[in-house]
Amino acid sequence: MNVPIRMLGVASTIFWVFLVAFVALAAYSVKDLSVDFGEPEFSVTPEGELNLALPLYVDNKGYYSLKEFHLSTVFSDSEGTELSRSNTFVPVIPHGENVTIMHNLTLDPVSLLERGEQYLFHDNDLNVSFTAGLNFAEVLPAEISANFTFPWGAPFYNFEVGEPSFELVDFTHATASVPVSFENHAVFDLAGSIRMELYDSEDSLLTESQTVLYVQQQSAYEGNMEFNIPLSLASMSSLSTAQSGHLDVYFDIGVAQYGPLVIPYG
């Protein structure tokens, strides 16, 4: 009986040595594993979606390959409604290699704007749920998750329309000027247009005007919308009714359209 017991002991010791060596090397490999995030790049896709390309540099100097590396990002609004979900999967990151993984996060502004004016005119915080997982050394699946907020900058933050000022040019037409100001807090340059319809107090459309915009991110815009109001003898009286009324504003920012935003004046 002594020999089987001794063999059992030897086998058990060998397995323990392998197990301890494996765990020690695996833990030691964690030290030699570095993960860095690069500078995110924003762009607009041909489909009109906002694309955030986040480069991820994984330098696996450890002793084991990393398998089934997956990265998932979920954007949700303050009420918890899911706005966007992005997944990246890398089957294997071999040991001793430096791999750059591009994690593309897409955000559809149309879906955001459909949820209300708050994303167009007010800054918000979007909730971001981030999960990264991998199978370390074949047998140790690990996952790291984090929740943080992503600041959403409104492209038409603090949008203000001033009182229209009318000027009679001659008997055939008059002009109106409406001051417009806002700040582009978005992460992208705003290239689009604003169209305004000028209505008098009797809800008759007097005229409309459109202006093309190009406002760089994090910069303010101040300008005037110029209206040309054709006059006739019958419509001469409408100029007096135009001292009050409302402006219907339509926004086109390329990736999304919104309107009308009704702003009373007078």
């Binding site: 030691y28 030290k31 690990a142």
Partner: protein, 152 residues
Amino acid sequence: MAEQQKKRKNIVKDISFRVAKATVKAVLVYMLYFFLSPMLAPLFEMIPGFMESIEAFIIVYIVLMILGDITAKTIFQHFFNTARALYFMGYLLLSMGDGVFSTSYESFSLTVNLTMFYAIAATLSLLGLARTILQAINFMHERAEAAIDMQL
């Protein structure tokens, strides 16, 4: 008289050998821990209290090992060896729980599934427990055989 003196000398020599053996084994186990702990440092940093827990485990394990070695060739050796195997299994069961280890720091949380490692370690510790029990049975069997031989 000379035989008694020789017998006493043998006992002292035997005990000295056991103590030396226990000391060498204890030093080897501690050296193993000493050299492995820097390797496991990244893991220790992530789990608060893990280092202290491991240290307590190593101390109890070494004490049981020393007691087992000092009481060699007696039934107590097998008691201590079985106690050591049971202690190891108990520690493994209590510290690992369901085999899924989770820790969080600020808004980050890390989950490592150690089920596979846990299963292998539990199997090996069961093997160790079985070995100590077999050793105890074998010891009792040899003693019984010796007693029968003496009677004959």
